[in-house]
């Protein structure tokens, strides 16, 4: 059975030159978001552990 390709031909587009400033800005905002999520998860797992003990 032929495999469904959701976006045929999208793997090889002519990519414009990377804008380094924009890349860094996005990486930074993603890093901040990831850090906040990880911090939230640590707090959640801590709270779950306490709640399960009660």
């Amino acid at each position: 059975m032929p495999r469904h390709d959701p976006l045929p031909g999208r793997e090889r587009p002519d990519r414009p030159p990377f804008d380094q400033t924009e890349i860094r800005r996005r990486q930074r905002s993603r890093s901040i978001a990831t850090a906040l999520i990880l911090f939230g998860l640590v707090a959640l797992f801590y709270a779950i552990s306490i709640a399960k003990m009660l």
């Binding site: 959701p6 976006l7 045929p8 414009p16 890349i23």
Partner: protein, 304 residues
């Protein structure tokens, strides 16, 4: 099926976190979280607030995972429809593998945490709901049959069941009726929408009922599904599962729903711009689900 090339070029840029957020379909998630929360609040017994929050979080993350995987698979369809062409993948703001990894990771995480923090049954139903939405609805049915919405509607019906199971560790008649209510609510809800954006579905080649069978059959079926939906919505009251607060609210809300569905069912309007009854039914169907589930929670808490 022919697939049109997508014009927006990928930039190679890392996707913004906002694009990952958009990938989870936050608006759809609202309804899922609400029905899950109502299932939890309607269940007998007590759950620690932290565990209750965790259960809702897992339901939300599971729904987000299913939405992300749906968009990963359907990016070609989304690019053809005006309503969806600005989503992160068809707009070229995100690479496909990123969406796949995000969806799989989020889904696995939500199921594992649900299993560890709550119970295995809730985790199992959550896993089934994600797999059902992605594999049965998105991959198997959506492009093949006009019944896609009917069977796929089951995926959206699971959250109330999961919420109940998270509290009690089992499944009873009331959450099954809530499951059936959402299941039967889905066809009139989506078919009302499909009537006035039929050209979008037609352009994308999605075999929606309105595209394959025409407007007349779609109208009639939307009305016919509204009848058992109303019966299921009212049923918990005569069965003694709820009190009169829910019973009266569900009866009035459902009768109004059936009335709107009847207007759609017997309408002969063909111009989407003039389809006021269809738009009203679509908008009211969302209010209906919120109001019915809200009344259930008020009733259960009032008579607890």
């Amino acid at each position: 099926m022919a697939t049109a090339p997508i014009e927006a070029p990928l930039t190679g840029m890392p996707a913004e976190w906002r694009d990952f957020w958009a990938l989870t379909k936050p608006r759809v998630m609202t309804l899922v979280v609400f029905t899950g929360l109502c299932g939890m609040l309607a269940a007998p017994g007590h759950i620690h607030p932290v565990l209750g929050f965790t259960a809702i979080l897992c339901i939300a993350l599971g729904a987000g995972a299913a939405a992300a995987l749906n968009q990963w698979y359907e990016a070609d369809l989304d690019a053809k429809m005006r309503r969806t062409r600005n989503r992160p993948l068809p707009a070229g703001r995100m690479e496909r593998p990123a969406a796949l990894q995000f969806g799989v990771g989020l889904g696995a995480f939500s199921v594992i945490v649900m299993g560890l923090a709550l119970n295995v049954l809730a985790a199992a139903i959550l896993a089934v709901s994600i797999l059902f939405y992605v594999l049965v609805y998105t991959v198997w049915l959506k492009r093949r049959t006009p019944q896609n919405i009917v069977i796929g509607g089951a995926a959206g019906a699971f959250p109330a069941l999961i919420g109940w199971a998270a509290v009690t560790g089992d499944v009873a008649l009331l959450p099954v009726l809530l499951f059936l209510l959402v299941f039967l609510w889905t066809p009139p809800h989506f078919w009302a929408l499909s009537l006035f954006i039929n050209s979008d579905y037609s352009a994308a080649g999605v075999p929606m009922m309105s595209v394959v069978a025409g407007a007349k059959a779609t109208r009639l079926q939307a009305f016919l599904y509204a009848l058992p939906m109303a019966a299921v919505a009212i049923a918990p009251w005569p069965l003694g599962l709820t009190g009169p607060i829910y019973g009266v609210a569900a009866t009035m809300l459902s009768l109004f729903f059936v009335g709107l569905a009847a207007r759609v069912g017997f309408s002969r309007v063909t111009d989407p711009a003039l389809m006021k009854a269809e738009r009203r039914l679509f908008a009211y169907s969302i209010v209906y689900l919120f109001a019915t589930f809200g009344a259930l929670v008020v009733d259960r808490l009032w008579y607890a």
